[in-house]
């Protein structure tokens, strides 16, 4: 009885040790892959940082009107954002290579799926970031223009434009990720329509007096006293 129990225990220990022995090369390979990819990421980040600094990437981005990207970047520097993104991508690739080294069919399958999904993730993130930058640029342009035209609801208009573009960018990003399917399209339609309706109502309510005065003048053919033109000549 005791011998049988000891035999079972030995067999079990052998199986665990054998399993561990089988797993160990994979683990070592994972650690090595992570270490190598970390080194590669560090070197790549170093070179990329020097290159971006050399071409004055941050200043150029500002010149292209993409200064909004700085707000989303660590230390307000888009160069650091790009460098870190690239280095983490390299580490991620190293991690996937390490997982594939286990030689298990499931992990390989996961790795392959992740590899296939990666372009979608990159495209979605890029789309969302660009959408964000574009939204901020457009919102600022609308705000300045509206203020210069003496529109009291300038900020509301600017916010509306910003969220329209953000919602559009988010919907496009989610579609790239394959998340939500029809629900995203529907939600986007409802949200987009809602924002447009809200803006239309805001503008309509804000300028109803103006419209009614204009209509009254048209109907009665009465010329209301115009505001005196300003005597200022600027050029």
């Amino acid at each position: 009885m005791w011998e049988q129990a000891q035999q079972a225990l030995n067999q079990s220990s052998d199986r665990v040790v054998a399993g561990l022995a089988n797993l160990l090369p994979g683990l070592v390979a994972l650690v090595v892959a992570l270490a190598l990819s970390s080194v590669a990421a560090w070197v790549l980040a170093f070179l990329l940082r020097r290159f971006l600094r050399g071409i004055r990437f941050d200043e150029r981005l500002e010149g292209w009107g993409l200064s909004g990207l700085a707000d989303w970047s660590p230390n307000k520097s888009p160069s650091i954002l790009v460098t870190r993104t690239v280095s983490w991508l390299v580490v991620l690739i190293g991690f996937l290579i390490g997982i594939a080294a286990f030689n298990a069919s499931i992990t390989s399958e996961i790795a392959m799926r992740l590899f296939r999904y990666l372009p979608n993730v990159v495209a979605a993130v890029t789309l969302f970031l660009l959408g964000n930058v574009f939204a901020r640029f457009l919102a600022r342009g609308v705000l300045i223009s509206a203020v210069n035209h003496n529109l009291q609801y300038a900020r509301l208009l600017s916010l509306g434009v910003k969220w329209l573009v953000l919602v559009l960018a988010a919907a496009m990003a989610l579609e790239h990720l394959g998340i939500g399917g029809r629900i995203v399209e529907l939600a986007f339609g409802i949200l987009f329509g809602g924002i447009v309706l809200a803006l239309a109502l805001a503008v309509g309510l804000g300028s109803k007096d103006l419209v009614s005065r204009s209509l009254e003048r048209q109907a009665d053919k009465v010329t209301a006293p115009e505001e005196a033109p300003e005597p200022f000549r600027h050029i």
Partner: protein, 410 residues
Amino acid sequence: MADLEALSPELKDRLAQLGQVEIVVAVPGVATREALRDTVARVRSALNGVGAGPKAVLVHPDGAMADAGSANGQLALLPFPITPVDRFPAPGESLSEAYRTVFLASNRLGARACVVVGSDPTTLAPEALQRLVRPVVEQDFDLVTPCYLRRRFDALLSSAVIAPLSRALYGKRLRFPVGADFGFSARLVDRQLQPTTERGAMPIWFASDAACGGFKIGQAQLGVPVPVQKDPPDISAAVAQLLGPLFLDLERNAACWQKVRASQPVPTFGMAAAVPEEAGAVDVSRMIEAFRLGYRNLQDVWGVVLPPATLVELKRLTQLAPETFRLADDLWARIVYDFALAFRLRVMSRDHVLGAMTPLYRAWVASYAAEVRTAAAAAVEQRHERLGAAFEAQKPYFVSRWRWPDRFNP
């Protein structure tokens, strides 16, 4: 048309036939036969008093043809493919092209002096035209800028920014660095045609080019008000139209203006005529309200351009009643300098920088108008003098920020 090689064979023949002349007078603003006939008479009368009857050519747009024989003797007519400029300055490239074409023609004809009358030449007295020509021909001046009668609310962008900035940076006290009517020497014309200045020939750059090139600059009293301009659709368009090229020029001439220490008066030809009295109340409340609207909405944008101390001053300004609304000259000078720097550093889109400056310019207009609405002409002139001095006093601030933009600026 910026290349004489592209001219028609007839025009080339005509240029060859004219040979060398002494003076070229260009009138891109002339559009009709009657206006041209009147202009010919005025120019002939003006040139009679210059030297020993110099040989001159009147360059006019080829759309306005004069009667045969309307010009004879010392003054020849040259219909030329100049872009007609009905009002000065026309926005965009056409104006630059018009100037460049005139310079090319003047250069080809070997003229000693080139006068461009961008305003309506039928309003200028022959004596006024003479004051643009004579300093160049007889006293070796290279650039003669115009002096118009300054009604208190005319050419406000020039008064608020261009003239004081030009004085502080380039050291020349010109009343109208940008105008419609100029006299140029052959040397300055050559410089404008050099490949290094192929950026175009905008009037707003003539004075700075001449000052940085060490050319001799004078100004002529023309005895007429500031020419009527093509109105831009709104104030922000006017700000962008004038201040965009001006700020661009600061970037190009940075090495030059940083060396200039103080301003000097510029020789003025002719006596200033009396400015007609203007009556009527001016309501500045709309301008002040536009500034307050800007303050409520654009603080984030201004925060990128202006230092905190300036924002605090602006906040104080929003709380003032219209009667006491005053934008201090040194504060305004620093605001202009900060925006010029933001334009250079591209802290945001350059259109946005200029757009965001518009409510602040409105605040200056409101403050200025409230101050001078009942002032006499002499007091208005003193007001401009004080503003120019304030820009000069704040120049070290600008130089420091230009050189070390990242340095802490409270």
